[in-house]
C-alpha cells in the first residue's frame, strides 16, 4: 500500500463521514451560501475531489516528515560540530527550562541550574524558531520591497517543494512522476533565482555580490551535476526514482552484494557529491554567504523569520540533496529485511549528511575563481568521462546492454 493509496482511503473516509456532512449542514444553515457549500460537498463526492483531498494529505505528511527531519538535521549539525570542536553544543532541555522558570519566579532570581541538569538540547531549535518568529521583519528603506519579499518566497517554496518530490520508499511517496528526478533537479535550480532576486533587491553590495556568486556557481555546477546523473539514467532507462532503485538491486558483485550505482559509476558519484554540495551551498562551497568577506552574503539584510526560513531552507535542500544522492547511487531504500525500507532510506540519507557535516567542519572555504575553475575545468570533463564509461560498460557487459533503454520521456 503506497502512501497515496493510504491517503486516498483516508480522504474517502473523511469526505464521507466528516467533510460532506459539514458542508451539507452549512448549506442547510445559511441559505445564501447553500449553492457554493453544496457544490463543494458535491465535488468532494467525485473522484477528482477525493484525489485532490488525498494529495493534500500526502503533501502534508511529506512536509511533516521533511520538517521533522529538518530539526534533526540541524540538531545533528550542532551537536556534531560541537563535539568536533571539543564543545558540548546545545544542552537545553524542557526540565532545565522549567527549573529556570522556577528560579526566576523566586524572590531573588538566580541563574544557577540544578545539579541534575542535563539534556540533549533538541529544544534549542524550537527556542531559536520562536525567537526568530518574534523578531521584527526589517525591510531596508531603499530596498525593492516587492522583490525583497519575493526572494524568500521563491527560495523557501522551491525548497519545501523538494520535500514532496522524492519518495522515502516505493510505497511511501507523495508523488510518483515518471520524470521524478528531473522535476527534483528543476526544483533545485529555481532557488538561485530567489537568491539572485533577494540579493539584488536588498540594495546592499554584499548581498548583490552574494547573489551574483550564487548565479555563477549555479552555472558552473548545474551542468556537471546533470551530466553525472545522466549515467544513472542511462543504466536505469528512466527518470523515475522507483525504477532507478529497482535497477540497482538487479546486479550483484563481490559476495553477492547488490551492484549499486556507486560501484560502476564511482567517478559519477564523486562528481555528483561535489556538485550537490555546491548546489546546496555548504562549506567548502558556501561562497554566496561567505561570512568572512560578505558578512552574510545575500541574507545580510534579512531578519526574523525570513532569515530563519532561509537557513531552514538550506538545510531542507541539504536533506533533499542527500536523498537524491541516496536514490541515484546508494540503492535508495534497499536494505536487509528487519529494518523497514523507509528507515533504510533515512539511515543512508543521514550518513551522507553526517559525512557532509564532517567535511564542513574540517576544511576551509574555496575561493570564487577556484570554484568556477573546478566546476568547468575538472568536473565537467570528469562527468563526461563517467558517461563514456557507462556506455563502454553497456557495450562490454551483456548484463548492462539488456537493460539500457532510452527514458520514456524522449
Amino acid at each position: 500500500m503506497s502512501l497515496f493509496t493510504a491517503c486516498r482511503s483516508m480522504a474517502e473516509w473523511t469526505a464521507e463521514y466528516l467533510l460532506i456532512p459539514i458542508f451539507n449542514f452549512q448549506a442547510g444553515l445559511f441559505p445564501p451560501f447553500s449553492n457554493p457549500a453544496g457544490s463543494v460537498a458535491d465535488w468532494l463526492g467525485t473522484d477528482g475531489g477525493l484525489d485532490t483531498l488525498a494529495w493534500t494529505y500526502a503533501v502534508n505528511i511529506a512536509f511533516m516528515v521533511g520538517m521533522t527531519n529538518l530539526i534533526l538535521v540541524i540538531h545533528l549539525e550542532r551537536k556534531i560540530a560541537a563535539r568536533i570542536q571539543d564543545r558540548r553544543g546545545p544542552m537545553l532541555s524542557l526540565r532545565s527550562l522549567r527549573e529556570l522558570k522556577e528560579d526566576l519566579a523566586g524572590e531573588a532570581p538566580t541563574w544557577k541550574f540544578k545539579d541534575n541538569y542535563s539534556g540533549i538540547g533538541i529544544i534549542q531549535n524550537l527556542v531559536d524558531g520562536i525567537k526568530a518568529i518574534t523578531k521584527e521583519l526589517i525591510v531596508p528603506t531603499k530596498a525593492d520591497r516587492f522583490l525583497f519579499t519575493m526572494g524568500p518566497i521563491i527560495f523557501i517554496s522551491s525548497s519545501v517543494f523538494l520535500l514532496v518530490l522524492f519518495p522515502l520508499s516505493d510505497r511511501f511517496a507523495a508523488s510518483s512522476a515518471p520524470a521524478g528526478l528531473m522535476v527534483i533537479m528543476a526544483a533545485f535550480s529555481i532557488a538561485p533565482i530567489g537568491v539572485l532576486t533577494s540579493g539584488w533587491a536588498s540594495n546592499n553590495k554584499y548581498s548583490m555580490i552574494g547573489g551574483m556568486r550564487s548565479a555563477a556557481q549555479l552555472m558552473a555546477y548545474e551542468i556537471p551535476l546533470l551530466l553525472s546523473m545522466a549515467g544513472v539514467f542511462l543504466l536505469a532507462g528512466s527518470f523515475d526514482p522507483v525504477t532507478i532503485v529497482e535497477q540497482q538491486q538487479e546486479g550483484t558483485w563481490l559476495f553477492g552484494l547488490p551492484m549499486w550505482n556507486i560501484i560502476p559509476q564511482f567517478i559519477g558519484f564523486i562528481v555528483f557529491m561535489i556538485c550537490i554540495l555546491a548546489e546546496v551551498e555548504r562549506v567548502p562551497f558556501d561562497l554566496p554567504e561567505a561570512e568572512a568577506e560578505l558578512v552574510e552574503g545575500w541574507t545580510t539584510e534579512y531578519s526574523g523569520i525570513r532569515y530563519m526560513l532561509f537557513l531552514a531552507a538550506e538545510y531542507i535542500r541539504g536533506f533533499a540533496g542527500a536523498a537524491v544522492a541516496t536514490i541515484l547511487f546508494l540503492g535508495g531504500w534497499a536494505g536487509p529485511w528487519p529494518v523497514p525500507p523507509e528507515i533504510w532510506f533515512l539511515i543512508k540519507v543521514y550518513l551522507i549528511i553526517i559525512f557532509w557535516i564532517f567535511i564542513r567542519w574540517s576544511v576551509p572555504r574555496i575561493r570564487t575563481d577556484q570554484i568556477l575553475e573546478l566546476g568547468w575545468k575538472k568536473l565537467l570533463p570528469l562527468s563526461l568521462i563517467n558517461i563514456l564509461i557507462v556506455i563502454l560498460m553497456v557495450e562490454i557487459y551483456p548484463y548492462f546492454s539488456n537493460i539500457i533503454t532510452l527514458p520514456e520521456v524522449f
Binding site: A81, I209, A292, E293, S362, P364, T368
Partner: protein, 364 residues
Amino acid sequence: MAEMWISMGPQHPMTHGLWTLKVKVDGETIVDADPELGYLHRSVEKMGERRKYFMNTTLTDRLCYASSTTWTHCYTHTVEELMEVEVPVRAQYIRTIMLELQRLASHLMWAGAYMPDLGHITGALYFWRDRELFLNLLELPSGSRLLYNFIRIGGVKRDLPNGFEEKTERILKLFEQRLDEYSDLFENSKIFRMRTDDVGKFTAEQAKNFGITGPNLRGCGTKFDLRKHDTYEIYEEIDWDISTREAGPGYSDCFSRYMVRIDEMKESVRIIRDCFKKMPAGATLASRIPVRAHGEAFRRTEDSRGEAMMYVVGDGSDRPYRWKIKSPMFTTMSACPHYLKGYKLADIPAIMGSIDICIGETDK
C-alpha cells in the same frame, strides 16, 4: 559589474577590530584599496602624559589585548633605560618566559582568528582552546587572564609560583603534540593551501620599504629578529634560532607567513625550556626604582606582530613628558593597498588575516 567601492568595516567579520577597508572592486577583482583607522583611538599617548610612569603599564596592557605583556615589557624596558634601572637577572629570565608565553598565546590568538577568515571555524576553536592553556599559565603568577600587569618598572611583580615549571612543561608537551596533529588539518590541507598559496605577495625589499616587520618580514626569508639583532633581556644567552620561510626567492605569501608563525611558536617553546634550565635564583625587583626621570629613551623590542618601539621623553617630573608608541601594524596596514591589488575579494580576509592585525595597538 562595473567598478564599485565597497566599504568593509568598521563592523565587518574581516576587520578583527574596528577599522574600515574601502576596496574598489571590478567584479571580484580588487582594483584599489584605502584603509581607514581611528575608530578605536583612545589617545593613549596623551593619557600617559597625565599618569605616573608606573601607572602607564595598565595602559600598555590595553594596547593590544592579545599580547599585553610584550607591550608592557616594551614600555618598562624603555622607562628602565630612561631611569637607568638595573633589572635583576632572575627577573629578566621570568620576563623572557612571560614574553614567550605571551607570544605563544598571541600567535594562537592570531591563528584562531585567521581560520574563520578562511571559513574554517573548527580551526579557530582548536587554536583558542590551546591558547587557554597558555592563558592559564600566564594567570598563575600574574593573577589575571588577559591583562596581566605583571611586568613592572625594575622587574616583575612577583616570583613564579611553586610548580610553575612542571605545569609549563606539561602544557608545552601537550601543545607540541597538538601542533603536530594540526598539521594535517591546516598546512597540509589542500583547500587551505589553495587559499593561502601565492596570495598577498610582497618581496623583502618592498616589505622593508613599507615598514613591515616581524613575522611578516621573516615570511620573505629575511633573517631579522630584534631578539637577536638588538638583543634585550637574556635572549643572547638562550639557544634558539630565527624562524624564516619564503614562498619564493625573496617574497612571501599568506602561507609562508602562516608557517613562520607556526615555527616561531615552536621556537618559543624552545626558549621557554631553555630559560627554565638556566634560570638563577635571586631578587625579582630592582632595589632602586626611581619615580622621576629626565631625558629621553628609545627602545625597540620584538613584539609578536613586529617591532614595537617606544620613545619616552621625561622632563624631571613623575609623569612622561612625551610618550610615543610605534605599533608594527600601523605601517603594515598603511601598505595594504599595495599587497591587496589584483587579488580577489575573497582574498581580502586571507591576506589581511595573515598579517595579524591588532587595531588596539594600531589606533593607540
